[in-house]
């Protein structure tokens, strides 16, 4: 595979090609439009600055996803740390997979009749460990293959299968708590 040779002038076409997927992945993971926009821009800035580090052993989109996911994980960890110190009760509830409060986030691409259910799903996703949440979203909303997810998360394919299995189990447990007869 060839190395990446990106010039500032070529950035427009490069971003046009990849920014949609990166933005949507960041938006699903962070559930915040402003943060997702920031992450998307930072991903392309880092890709431009560190293009020599692209070895060509994975596809460019996988490499960009990896940068984006790392940035999102950093933001989520910072938020968790902040929540732990500023609101320990809420943090403990989140750790115990209890419904804390409904999030007001729904992805803008969700069809209208599914918005209510999607809000519950996004809220339940917040209670998943970050690596399970990432694997689940990359597979179910970004439609990445197990191999691609393993490259993004730098792990093995069986590990991805295990992450997805546990993510679905935890997600079901969490969603069941919202069920009303």
């Amino acid at each position: 595979m060839s190395k990446l040779q990106l010039k500032a002038a070529d950035l427009g076409a490069f971003m046009q090609k990849h920014q949609g997927r990166i933005y949507n992945a960041a938006l699903n993971l962070l559930q915040n439009q402003l943060e997702a926009e920031e992450v998307t821009q930072d991903v392309f800035l880092e890709a431009y600055n560190k293009q020599q580090s692209f070895k060509g052993d994975a596809s460019i989109s996988t490499w960009l996803y990896r940068i984006a996911i790392n940035k999102c994980i950093d933001i989520l960890r910072k938020k968790q740390r902040r929540l732990k110190w500023t609101n320990p009760l809420k943090w403990m509830a989140a750790e115990a997979l209890l419904p804390v409060e409904p999030t007001d986030f729904v992805h803008p691409g969700i069809v209208t009749e599914n918005k209510e259910k999607a809000a519950i799903l996004y809220n339940a996703l917040l209670h998943l460990p970050v690596n399970q949440r990432t694997a689940y979203l990359l597979h179910d909303t970004e439609h990445l293959s197990y191999k691609e997810i393993s490259e993004v998360l730098k792990t093995s394919i069986p590990a991805v299968e295990s992450l997805l299995f546990r993510a679905r189990q935890n997600l079901r447990k969490s969603i069941e708590k919202y069920y009303k007869d």
Partner: protein, 102 residues
Amino acid sequence: MKKEHWVDAVINSTHQIKPAGTNPFWVIRVQQKIKNQQENRHAVIAAKWVYSAAACFAALLVLNILTFSNTAAKSSKNNIQSVIQQYGFMQTDYYFLDPSTR
């Protein structure tokens, strides 16, 4: 059973998701950030130079303190000697001298 179906419906609610639209101006923002980086690259002093300057300053400060403390100790002895010489005191006239020199 009804609960299971409901959970499945919640999980499948994102299956027909359409990608969220992006902003074409992000490219301009990123290009501006790259331009800013290139402009600031010349203005920023490398960390190694900052640390070496700080180390030199600290070394000079330590040397100054050491030199000053040595000369201050010597000069206090010299002052007493010069007074003895000037007024022709004998070395036995201890009442002028510092108790520590007796």
